[in-house]
Symmetry: C2
Subunit: 334 residues, 2 copies
DNA sequence: TTGTAGGCGTTATCAC
DNA sequence: GTGATAACGCCTACAA
């Protein structure tokens, strides 16, 4: 491995000069500059980033901590984060916590010890996620999709409004007994979407039935099980608003398996982009988030935070978009 | 930030002793050990991993380089890699190359400069991926899903067999004019699956028609466009084998948009796990790979390689599994 | 068993 | 402008 010393020796200059040329700091005579550059070429020298990070205390790496890498919502956010980070010369380290607060903790402490320059996180919990030590180490943090227990910059969609327009769409089609399957209580987005659901019911003068509100886990199986639970009630709902994409998948499967919903008069609203939403019949209505833009916004915010010229905390709120397709339409008349 | 010196001072021992306690190397008196541990507690000391990596030249981080983070095939591999890596105390750094050889190059040189302990990679190209410098730096590499230009350990499914059984499944249903949409020529898996397709045609005595073989890009839109192209032939095929999941999605959409395939007599076989395969009608037949296991196998191989007690190169081949569903069945009689 | 001291490769602060 | 040189935090001979 060629080091900066080898380059210096070959170019007959000091390591300081090599460093200056490499980093473009300070003025260096053109002649020396070319000598250095050709030495770099010849030795195919690559600076040791670990040593550099050690010396400068800055890694040029930002971490993206997400709860579920198999969820298209988060991978799309990844893309946005990458776009912004790469453009600024940063690498992105993606960590998957698997909705597990323990794993999340481990990753966070690993990342702080690793001295990453900043963290974009979609926390497992808006209550229990242990972000304080990170902030104390002065590592900048921006949350995306879900909020943190501590005040930070955050990027998210107006979840409450999203829940509301999803529910309103069902109401408009004439559904009266609308259930809601949301995520874990401790995730802010789950709570917000449920609130929006209640808002819509209240506005429409519909009854709010506790048995129709299910806290699940944002996962496929959770959606499936919740649908079963709802349909086993002695007074089952006539439609369901499912508060994320993966649970919607499970819910759709359950409705199919139970022989309901495909040809029958049963309403379904999803949340998040659903890649297969147009492929099935009935096609699945949903409330989409501009995920890639959200990722970009989060990363940009983080970068400006890291530059230090950005004080205070901002909440960047995107608007949810209703994609009204077939599954929320009243398909038979009463 | 507390350093090892602070801990040493507080515990009234030398830094060497602290280091020994922390790493469990060498013998340390129990009394000192407890003194050190409580000092660590009190200062909530976290070792600086950058400094440690700098000193030891080893990072306890393995990188996973994949071409498409929005593809469930790769995210599932991620999960497997994480399982094995985390169990061994390693963190996983995921890098998304976006099927872009430039980006891949950048990531690889970043990772080598970063001194990651090892790399699991699903290369963009089996010809152009520039892995040599990594290997020369003595960073261990295992490929997964696709092969590298250089001989390394590799984990993959028997792609040729996969292509064959997919095609055979269509043949068995009575299809005669079977087309194949595969990925980019330079990806080994694309080529192999196409070979399997040809094998099956040959065995069955069916004609091999060049116009029915399309090299696309493993992406959604590619599948869509290829289907359009095929159906515009003056002698269009009666069925298609699509060689990965994302192109299958695009293909399904195209068939739907063109009014074919859903109710008509047109066969479709996919490749890879297709999350929505059971949700649509007709349900989509496919050839699945045991992705999570493959990820685990790759990471385990890498770890044993890093331990140095594993010479030579192994090719770990998993078996593809036919999931015969409706889309490959002959739904109307001729 | 414990402590001292050197060095990993880089950058930054000084003199020159 | 350029070059010595110290320092970043940690581990590990080697000495005690």
């Amino acid at each position: 491995m060629a080091t900066i010393h080898d380059v210096a020796a070959l170019a007959k200059v000091s390591t300081a000069t090599v460093s200056r040329v490499l980093n473009g700091t300070g003025f260096v005579d053109e002649k020396l500059k070319t000598r250095v550059n050709s030495a770099v070429q010849e030795l195919s020298y690559q600076p040791n980033l670990v040593a550099r990070a050690f010396r400068t205390q800055a890694t040029l790496v930002i971490a993206l901590v997400i709860p579920d890498i198999e969820n298209p919502f988060f991978t799309s956010i990844c893309r946005g984060v990458e776009d912004a980070a790469n453009a600024a010369g940063y690498s992105v380290m993606i960590c998957n916590t698997d909705e597990d607060i323990e794993k999340e903790n481990q990753y966070l402490s690993m990342l702080t010890s690793q001295n990453v320059s900043g963290i974009v996180i979609s926390p497992v919990s808006s209550i229990y996620t242990n972000i304080q030590p990170v902030i104390e180490r002065n590592i900048k943090v921006v949350s995306v999709g879900r909020t943190l227990p501590v005040k930070t910059d955050s990027v998210h969609v107006d979840n409450r409004k999203g829940g509301r327009i999803a529910t309103e769409n069902l109401i408009k089609s004439g559904y009266k007994k609308i259930a809601c399957i949301t995520g874990d209580k401790s995730a802010s987005s789950a709570e917000e979407r449920l609130l929006g659901y209640k808002d819509a019911l209240l506005d429409a003068g519909l009854e709010i039935d506790k048995r129709y509100q299910i806290y699940s886990d944002f996962k496929n199986q959770g959606g499936y099980n919740s649908v079963e639970k709802l349909l086993n009630l002695k007074d089952p709902p006539d439609s369901i608003f499912v508060a994320n994409n993966r649970m919607t998948e499970g819910a759709f499967q359950a409705l199919k398996d139970l022989g309901i919903g495909v040809s029958n008069d049963f309403g379904l609203m999803g949340f998040d982009e659903i890649p297969w939403g147009e492929l099935v019949s009935p096609s699945v209505s949903t409330v989409a988030q501009p995920t890639r833009q959200m990722g970009m916004a989060a990363a940009k915010k983080l970068l400006s935070k890291m530059n230090g010229k950005d004080q205070g905390f901002e909440e960047i709120v995107f608007q949810p978009e209703l994609l009204a397709r077939q599954s929320s339409m009243r398909r038979t008349n009463l």
